[in-house]
Amino acid sequence: MPPQDLPLGQRPRLLDVSHVEKTFNGDVVALKDLSLEVNEGDFISLLGPSGCGKSTALRLISGLMHPTSGRINWSGGQGADDLGIVFQEPTLMPWATVAENVWLPFRLRGQSYVSVRDEILEALKLVGLDKFQNAYPRELSGGMKMRVAIARAMVTHPRLILMDEPFAALDEITRFKLNNDLLELKAKIGCTVIFVTHSVFESVFLSDRIIVMAARPGRVIRELHVDAPYPRHEDFRTSAEYAAFTRQASEALHDAMGEAA
């Protein structure tokens, strides 16, 4: 059984974040005592107000930054292609075509385009952009660019995909569509996702675990489990269950804001 179909408690451990702290310039505590167990197949949302250290947490997990104290351990060690990342901006290379952009992770490993063409086309097909492989980013809409970024992040089938408010700049209709597609994609390739968002609705719709965070200093306030089965479709958004979970999450977030004040 793929880990994502196992109940939350039974999934194998992927990553352990233990007592991680990050201080900038000696006095700005961006993140205080963050502990997080990431299991294979989890869809974790980091939810919290601006400045609570969500991006910092992602950067620490991605290895772009090192913690001031504490440890981040990958079970079985971290391989070169264990990680994919999607930023708030699509972050495509404007001089390269869609297919060349998706090729990037392979290219940096020294793999020729021809040798991975099938994987690239497969990833583009999964995000519905196989017809646009020769287009340049400027010819695409915001939502399409984001799809390319997602295709690039998953083309190597990484074990973990980090997403930092990837849909924040999109309109709501596009965002809903991409939410649905993201869930479908994750089910297909069976990866783990850590997803940063400001939106209670988005976090409930997407994740099975929501980590609610507070600012000054950045810290975890509460963890919520969204015990609704996948696959989740558009009708989940209008269900009573969904409403109940969003209420819970909103309250937790409200507490987080209150405690921060």
Binding site: S62, G63, L64, A80, L83, I85, F87, E89, T91, M93, P94, W95, A96, L104, P105, R107, L108, R109, Y136, P137, R138
Partner: protein, 287 residues
């Protein structure tokens, strides 16, 4: 006016607008060439009339006919001179490209290199080349090489500074992405920094092309004076000593023609290199 008469216009309203725009575009396209040409013809005519009616002596202002005559009669002298100036300009530009790009890459790869040498690049740039030229003439045996050095000094700085800025301008998230995927220094330079720098480099190239010619002309003025007749600018200077104003104007026209050709070539290169992806090369609707 009846409704029936008005109707076709409103129904075809969009088409009418489209047609009007297409017509405007067509007129624009034609006018872009005809208007400047007309201005030129009129100016030459005015020049001719002024000289003939005012009976201006040719050693003060030669008429266009006389200049054209010089251009033809002195061609055997002007053409080789133009070749020398061209060679000077092109070589200086090529050296500026190589020097500027190599130094820019060195500067962005090593902070120490930048700290050590950037001030000297600036000093070289801000010191008027006309003040350096006589020195070069003393220390460098060949007049051509001395002139080449002058033109190079003038042309290389815009390439250096633009390329340096360009190499540093790569998107930060893309840089992070390259880090996450474990890119090597070379991959980073080749796949990220270099393409990011390309528009900046091409902007510098456009400026450097013009400056290389200016540098060549200045160098010929200063260095060619020692009797080592160089290119067009030396010819021009010599013609002025001899009050041969027909030849002087002919040389001047050829020099500015060279400038125009260089600018056109640089613009073309820039357009071809960027047209598929860069904003600056986009043709937007209605422009």
């Amino acid at each position: 006016m009846s409704i029936a008469e008005e109707a076709p216009v409103t129904i075809a309203g969009v088409d009418v607008e489209e047609q009007a725009r297409a017509r405007r575009d067509r007129i624009h396209r034609i006018a872009k060439w005809t208007l400047p040409s007309l201005v030129m013809v009129l100016s030459i005519l005015a020049w001719h009339l002024y000289v003939t009616i005012g009976e201006i002596p040719h050693y003060i202002l030669p008429g266009p006919v006389r200049v054209a005559q010089s251009l033809v009669e002195d061609w055997a002298l002007l053409w080789p001179a133009m070749m020398i100036t061209s060679r000077l300009t092109i070589l200086a530009l090529l050296m500026a490209i190589v020097g500027g790009v190599v130094l820019a890459v060195a500067f962005t790869q090593s902070k120490w290199a930048e700290m050590s040498f950037f001030p000297y690049a600036v000093i070289l740039q801000v010191t008027p080349v006309i003040a350096i030229a006589p020195l070069l003439q003393i220390y460098v045996e060949s007049a051509f090489v001395a002139a080449l050095l002058c033109a190079w000094i003038v042309a290389f700085f815009p390439i250096l500074s633009n390329t340096t800025i360009g190499l540093k301008s790569a998107d930060h998230n893309l840089q992070d992405l390259f880090t996450i995927y474990g890119a090597t220094r070379w991959q980073r330079l080749r796949y990220l920094a270099a393409p990011s720098a390309l528009p900046f480099f091409l902007g510098g190239l456009k400026i450097a092309g013009g400056l290389a010619l200016i540098g060549a002309v200045v160098a010929e003025f200063v260095i060619g004076r020692a009797g080592t007749g160089l290119g067009l600018a030396s010819t021009l200077l010599e013609a002025s000593y001899r009050f041969n104003f027909g030849r002087l104007y002919a040389a001047l026209i050829l020099i500015s023609l060279m400038g125009v050709v260089i600018f056109a070539i640089m613009s073309l290169i820039s357009h071809l290199a960027l047209r598929s992806w860069h904003e600056s090369a986009l043709k937007r609707e209605g422009q």
